[in-house]
């Protein structure tokens, strides 16, 4: 039987382009110590550790969790390493939560990280492979044509992406952990930034960050104990789902992938969500390029297909404009992108909001939140719902 489980500890590092002050171990250690202490625990209380990160070539260390076992407090414990491309931070939290939901463990530490500055992520993503086209375009070059297809299909005006870029950077100004703090951010500034992958401007793209995120997932018993010990309320997990579809196939809809829609449907069934826009108080969604906000608004059922850009344009997703469904109050992936940790940061931020501890970027009285991560060429999805009330 599936047991109740909740986020009972949260830790994250400040994201920066280069964390030269710490080793890889030092970076993950910052996040895990913070999460374990936040739960009122010590490492001796942790039953198992689940680690996630994107391709090992981002740091140049193969299966780095083996070397990190000590820093993660995993010695003598079960330790797993998840890798599901960009969705990995979310998938990792889900694997950890299943270790509790299945009744096997009471307290599981989950951590995701990337220290991209130790290698060259752009290079790692574009390692020449002999049987594919020699044309190198980078991640943006992969997604820009899909964005163009969305613009064509939806008839969205050209400035919608720039509005997302501004909104998320304004949110980031309220999040001390965010990598990009751009106090002067404006539509003009985005428009004036170099056009990297037409139609994507430089400021419509995510940065490259070093950073780590960690959470402690606890059973009902562990959650009660943590609440007593720390006074912090648990963020109860109401549903978790993962879906994958093939990377390329005839007739694949890359703008509005079936895997994302199916994943959301499964998640909403578990959590009893019938109208996402009304039922959620906020959402943290993986938006590495600005236009993915309107695309995912549709994919996640917050509006009808083709209408996502209208929500963005109306300010519905802006915390600052008092929108009814604020998205990415933390600043999102557009403001911090430690790739392997980016998905976990989405999940972590929802828990932070539910616990009412998001500080300046707190959504007032957030009671139910959606976390989403996607990866690869939008073929891998992981999602969860956390809430104040016990399921």
């Amino acid at each position: 039987m599936s047991e109740r489980c909740a986020v009972i500890g949260i830790g994250q590092t400040v994201a920066k382009s280069k964390r030269e002050d710490v080793s890889i171990a030092g970076l993950v250690r910052e996040a895990v110590v913070m999460a374990v202490e936040d739960a009122g625990l010590t490492f001796a209380d942790i039953d198992a550790v689940v680690v996630g990160k994107a391709p090992d070539m981002f740091e140049g260390v193969m299966m780095p969790e083996l070397y990190l076992a000590g820093a993660l407090g995993a010695v003598g414990k079960p330790m797993m390493r998840v890798h599901t491309a960009g969705s990995v931070g979310g998938s990792t939290a889900i694997v950890a939560s299943h270790l509790v939901a299945s009744g096997i463990h009471d307290r599981v530490l989950t951590v995701a990280f990337e220290k991209q500055s130790d290698s060259d992520a752009m290079w790692a993503l574009s390692v020449p492979q002999p049987f594919s086209s020699p044309l190198l375009a980078g991640a943006g070059g992969y997604f820009a044509p899909i964005i163009r297809a969305y613009m064509h299909r939806s008839g969205a005006p050209r400035d919608v992406g720039m509005k997302v870029a501004v909104k998320d950077r304004l949110h980031a100004l309220k999040n001390p952990y965010a990598h990009l703090h751009l106090p002067d951010i404006s539509l003009q500034m985005v428009e004036d930034s170099i056009m990297l992958w037409d139609p994507l401007h430089y400021l419509e793209s995510c940065p490259s960050s070093d950073g780590a995120a960690a959470m402690v997932i606890g059973s009902e018993r562990a959650a009660a104990q943590a609440e007593t010990d720390t006074g912090r309320r648990p963020a109860w997990i109401h549903g978790m789902a993962m879906r994958s579809e093939p990377t390329m196939f005839a007739g694949r809809d890359q703008v509005n992938p079936q895997a994302g829609r199916d994943c959301a449907a499964d998640l909403y069934r578990q959590a009893g969500i019938s109208d996402p826009r009304a039922d959620f108080d906020m959402a943290e969604v993986y938006v590495p390029f600005s236009w993915y906000e309107p695309m995912w608004l549709e994919n996640l059922g917050f509006c009808a297909e083709g209408d996502g850009w209208k929500l963005t344009e109306a300010g519905a997703t802006s915390l600052i404009d008092g929108g009814d469904i604020p998205w990415n109050c933390s600043g999102g992936v557009l403001s911090s992108n430690p790739i392997g940790a980016s998905g976990m940061l989405r999940f972590l931020e929802t828990a932070l909001q539910i616990r009412g501890e998001a500080g300046e970027h707190q959504v007032p009285d957030a009671r139910r939140a959606l976390g989403q991560a996607y990866g690869g060429g939008s073929q891998f999805f992981s999602m969860w719902v956390v809430a104040v009330d016990k399921p």
Binding site: E20, D21, G60, D120, M122, W123, S126, P128, Q129, P130, F131, S132, S133, P134, L135, L136, A137, G138, G140, G141, Y142, A144, P145, I146, R148, A149, H152, R153, I194, M195, L196, W197, D198, P199, L200, P246, T247, M248, F249, A250, G251, D253, Q254, V255
Partner: protein
């Protein structure tokens, strides 16, 4: 106090010998002749370009060989302005998804002989190959794609391949 060590260089070099496999081997022999090879799935009948040997949706071998056209349609594209390590093409350049006639899957290719401002969805293009004596079992045999002068394809004809 001496300065803290904040960075150390650990250069690494690894060499790999790749195995193309049966399907990709056939594709490469096609490229060697200046011909694109497609493979048809026995179940769904879709024709895959640059197949790795299986139908991605049915999970069965795609062993029927189909010779594809040298012409196709740009389904979508982007203009690349960002420099990064390993890049060998002058900026800006156009990177497009190309759906070859007779295929059910597009792939990414370079578009040239058209100003970046004139690239558009639906543009009809043809492959430009390297001279015959330079053809080899590699995608490098395709220099790039260029407009072939045909009228643009209607959106309806390629909307399922975006």
């Amino acid at each position: 106090m001496s300065e803290p060590v904040t960075m150390m260089a650990a250069p690494m070099r690894l060499d790999y010998v790749f195995t193309p496999g049966v399907a990709q081997g056939k594709n490469m022999h096609g490229l060697e002749r200046g011909v694109f090879i497609g493979q048809r799935c026995p179940k769904c009948k879709k024709v895959y370009t640059l197949s790795r040997g299986s139908c991605p949706t049915d999970g069965v071998p795609t062993d029927e060989i189909v010779e594809l056209s040298n012409t196709g349609t740009v389904t979508t594209y982007c203009v690349v302005n960002v420099p990064f390590a390993g890049q060998s093409i002058e900026l800006p350049y156009i990177c497009a998804q190309i759906l070859l006639d007779g295929a059910n899957l597009s792939f990414m290719g370079l578009i040239q002989e058209i100003p970046a401002g004139e690239i558009r969805m639906g543009l009809r293009v043809e492959a430009v190959w390297v001279p015959p004596d330079e053809l080899g079992p590699t995608m490098a045999s395709v220099k790039y794609f260029r407009p072939n002068g045909e009228p643009d394809a209607a959106f309806e004809t390629y909307k399922e391949y975006l």
